[in-house]
Symmetry: D2
Subunit: 365 residues, 4 copies
């Protein structure tokens, strides 16, 4: 459902790419929350956890009922901390054993909390040791627990994955920077041991039984990449492309290179379909969230890439391409900060679609 990965440029600067796939559009917003914005999280009957933004926070968010309660799906703060929420169907959090008066963070608010308060993965890990977190059922999801796991990167390239399964919270260091979806993160890491043969070098000549054979085209190196679009195969391909992608110099070239890499994970509508009877709680709730429910569902639904983000962690730049656009929109945290002293929120769909009209360029010659 989502693919996320990190690229480093020649100077070691860190860039993050991620896609989001669902068979429906959620009411995504683009939000800028300047330093000082007050936020809150509430889980079960516990005291709310109130905090304000120590950092400027930019993100793609989904409103939970109102614009005052934003759930961060993808975000970046001006300290270079990058957060991504991805689907994780095995989610099964710990039982609520906390005292009522303990302020507890709802897992769905992990993104807002971490982007608001911390500058590095190390800070996040330390804070998580102290902070009570519950996977709280979400009314917007029809009362089921939010089926997500969470990955956090910082501008040094440090990366962790936070998962709730088997009734426990797990915080995994992520040496690869790659994350997709189910199953649990350490299963994926073990699975990479089945791909030690991967290399980007074409082997285009062979002699079998005394006869020479030649592959006339380039590209046979990728013959062993797994093909499916499930999380398992996407994880392996994400490692492959992140690892073998040609190193580039600076933001402009690296964002472009990252764009090409993420195109490998851009899923067109129709590429795979499944019975709408198997739609997840998340998908089913989307109709309610967007007011598009009603009518008989189609026999088959298709999961496609709603949007892709390309992020320069160190320089605070976020590029976004939606399914309905041929090009990327760029956001710059420093510019936003200059322009906005209060929270700014726009619908993602307001970005429109961008193709450069080049006829005039031609006529001018």
């Amino acid at each position: 459902m989502c693919t996320s990965l990190l690229l480093k440029d020649l100077s070691g600067s860190v860039y993050a790419g991620r896609t989001l796939e669902l068979p429906v559009e959620l009411p995504y917003l683009v939000a800028f929350l300047p330093k000082g914005t007050k936020l809150s999280s509430k889980a079960g009957n516990h005291a709310p956890l109130n905090y304000d933004c120590k950092y400027d926070v930019f993100g793609i968010v989904v409103p939970n009922g109102s614009a005052d309660d934003l759930k961060v799906v993808e975000g970046l703060n001006d300290a270079g901390l990058n957060f991504s929420l991805l689907a994780f169907s095995e989610t099964h959090g710990p039982d609520d054993t906390f005292a009522a008066d303990v302020p507890v963070l709802s897992a769905i608010d992990l993104g807002a909390w971490m982007l608001a308060r911390f500058s590095t993965v190390a800070e996040v890990k330390a804070a998580l040791e102290e902070q009570s977190v519950l996977v709280d059922p979400l009314a917007a999801l029809g009362g089921v627990v939010p089926p997500f796991h969470y990955t956090v990167h910082d501008k040094t390239g440090a990366s962790i994955v936070i998962e709730f399964f088997n009734g426990e919270r797990h915080v995994f260091d992520n040496p690869t920077g790659v994350m997709t979806n189910s199953p649990r993160f350490d299963w994926h890491l073990t699975n990479l041991n089945n791909y030690t043969h991967l290399s980007n070098v074409d082997h285009s000549n062979a002699t079998f039984l005394g006869q020479d054979f030649i592959q006339p085209d380039s590209g046979i190196a990728t013959v062993t990449l797994p093909s499916s679009d499930t999380a398992v195969d996407r994880f392996v391909r994400a490692v492959y492309y992140a690892n073998f992608s040609e190193k580039t110099d600076g933001q402009e070239a690296t964002i472009r290179q990252l764009g090409h890499v993420m195109n490998k994970f851009d899923r067109p509508k129709g590429a795979s379909v499944y019975s709408s009877a198997k739609a997840s709680a998340l998908t089913k709730s989307a109709g309610d969230l967007t007011g598009q429910s009603g009518g008989a569902p189609p026999e088959f639904i298709t999961e496609y890439t709603s949007w892709i983000t390309l992020i320069d962690l160190a320089r605070g730049a976020v590029f976004v391409r939606t399914y309905n656009s041929l090009g990327y929109a760029k956001f710059d945290l420093a510019t936003l900060k200059e322009q906005a002293s209060t929270p700014k929120i726009i619908p993602l769909e307001a970005l429109g679609q961008h193709a450069f009209d080049a006829d005039g360029l031609m006529a001018a010659h």
Copy 2:
């Protein structure tokens, strides 16, 4: 090295996507040749074949020595005929048995000639019956024969592939509209019989040995897509995505959908590499063409997608994205015609890179 395919929208209107991959940049130009432009082709010692443009012609071209001698790599005319030149390493044309005074078309000029003179694939096929064609060595390629085959589509969806191999010219009807590279076209068609199991429907539940298994993610349907980036596997994937891509309504939606499909064939630098000692004549000649020769070659070179075109055949619109851009530039033949009564030629690299600066949009809220 190149992937080309056709999509139809809900009304049956035809769109063409193609990529071009090489390990080098050729000195690509974008050219508009209005009706009446005079062109010529010369093969061996034969009389030149002189002709003028019956149609407005737009294309991505490579100059053969001078801007007067343009070789069309990808083009469209205002009758909706679309031409693509793709690499074909088995090229071996017929012997020259034509009389010296017969005007002979050089195969490398097939694109210019067909776009200039014909409006449909049927017209092209009929004209080829009459026209002598030779695969003439090209000075710009160091004197080797141009290793290409040629695919032509029209706005009805008719499509042919022209190949020269085993010393003969072959014109194949192409019921799929898909073309890549070696081996010969009919081999690829036979190969599709090995993919009858392909379907875009996820099979996500199974019972093995009395135990139920569930794939929690969508996308297992593509598990049997072949993975390599050779022409053989790209052909199969192009058929898959062209066939299963969700049908869309009208130019705007279909060009976007085609963009997502073509992203599947966007090859990042580094994804596969090969020894520079195995570089083709085409690749080696590029250094001379672009004046970038000299110095020791790198140990490995990587083939990447220099550019992608998305074409609306019926409405005369061409969208181009280069490797160095995050977005597409759009050309409209009707607009170009209004603006230009003489040939217009600009370097492809003049298109620059396009990412929409969205900060202002946000600040305005």
Copy 3:
């Protein structure tokens, strides 16, 4: 439906393995035809082609109506010529343009004729230049043309494939010694260019994104072998195993090694099934041939390996294992020759379930 391949031992001596798969049992016989046995072939209304055995011939055969008209499926003569008939669905022979009085060989009798008359592949090729051959409809197949192609090896390792398609006879030199089924032989050879990456060396260590991964088991080398049991994938696997199989010394070790290789092509009942409505003419006719027709067919039928032969060409030894046996029966041409001066024919099923020297069984008939 059938897989055939050659192994050479350390001294260069040639051994042939082949499987036969159908969803039914044909009334297979094991036949020994000593030198001097008179044979005949008749095609259409042409004069019969009469000939006698210049060599001792041993084979697995199917009677065409009577034991006087045996069609060789797999055979060996005492000069070390080995013949195999394999299914080939594209069979489409030349039109009958021969004069009525010309003796014409029916393609289905190619095996008997070649084993009876020739000692080397070179002799066979020369003789085929002179001999008229027709793909004659076979009453036993319900009047359809026998859908087969034919491969012939000799003890030097020379190998050819004879196919009738597109209305023409083709004789291909086979540098690999491997043959399976459709499509045409030269398509398979071209397909090997897509497998130049195959190697039997495990690559069990890799570093991706700075992290080391280790495959703890042996055997990752075969990760790129194609998996299906269609002729196309079996051809590639047969080349792989024939090429990489460890070289052995002498008949005993090499026949065992060949046995292990052929086990890779042993197809268990149920491994794949298809609708009985899609049964071939060959399969449908089997019911009539064996008197087992009648009753409603099952919904699905399964193709399985009826038998496997391992042949030492130079020493005239043939090992046979049927689906119903855990071991091989061995036949020795020299021993058979001593024991039999007239044709000897026994049902294949008489071999029972256990490996043993079967020459005596044959002599007793």
Copy 4:
């Protein structure tokens, strides 16, 4: 390194197949230990665990220094309990926290102990709750811990896997009856969720882009079976063949069917090779065990199937085929029991090359 699986016949009777692969031959013995035979296990400095055979035990064993100390690799008792030891490189047992005077079972003796004492998997599970077990370094392995896990089946089809990893003992119920090697068993079970698309039904017809394609051969169903010979891919294939194998009636037919299934896991020498520098402790120790050490090792070594067993659990029959044989030898526990009142041990290599009733051979020792 090893593949094991269960088949059931039409009446639900249970049969077990297993292979053993190493790049070397160990000094395998075939052993029959009648009821009452006294056995012992010793781990560390703990009191020995002494016990006698409550059941007749038959097995393929390796002597640990002397014939008095046999380690069971594959075994069956006359209650229908079947034990298999398979390689497991992650083995990391619990620390020794047992009191010195507690009799502790060495993990390598699990097979002997379980076959001697128990009749069902349920009994084994209950007994393991009480019994202290340590993974004790083995002198014969150069002092490393024996890198194995253990699978136990009974004639009801109940099946467990016993693994020691992460410093803990794990007993997994095995609903599939399949086991291979690394990684841990529950990882394999999760991995089956990535194969829900597997089916044995050929999909041989498709229409792509309006054009019909037909696969002329049977067997395309297996196109998605994973190809490598690592434990991960063998596990999936073992589940596939165990699940889809045609059900048969009774011992004779089912043992044959199981033989065909196990042929799919018969690995020929040379099919994959790896650097001898990467040989495991187990492989390295084999030279010492067999007295074949000395001399420079070859550059590459190849793992092959030393032997295969086919076992009828309910009827006490064991069929064995070694790499050097074309057929199976059969052992019958009831017959052995009649013939032997004391332990009988013969070298596995004494079985020679042909299938036969081997009970007499054993009694003669």
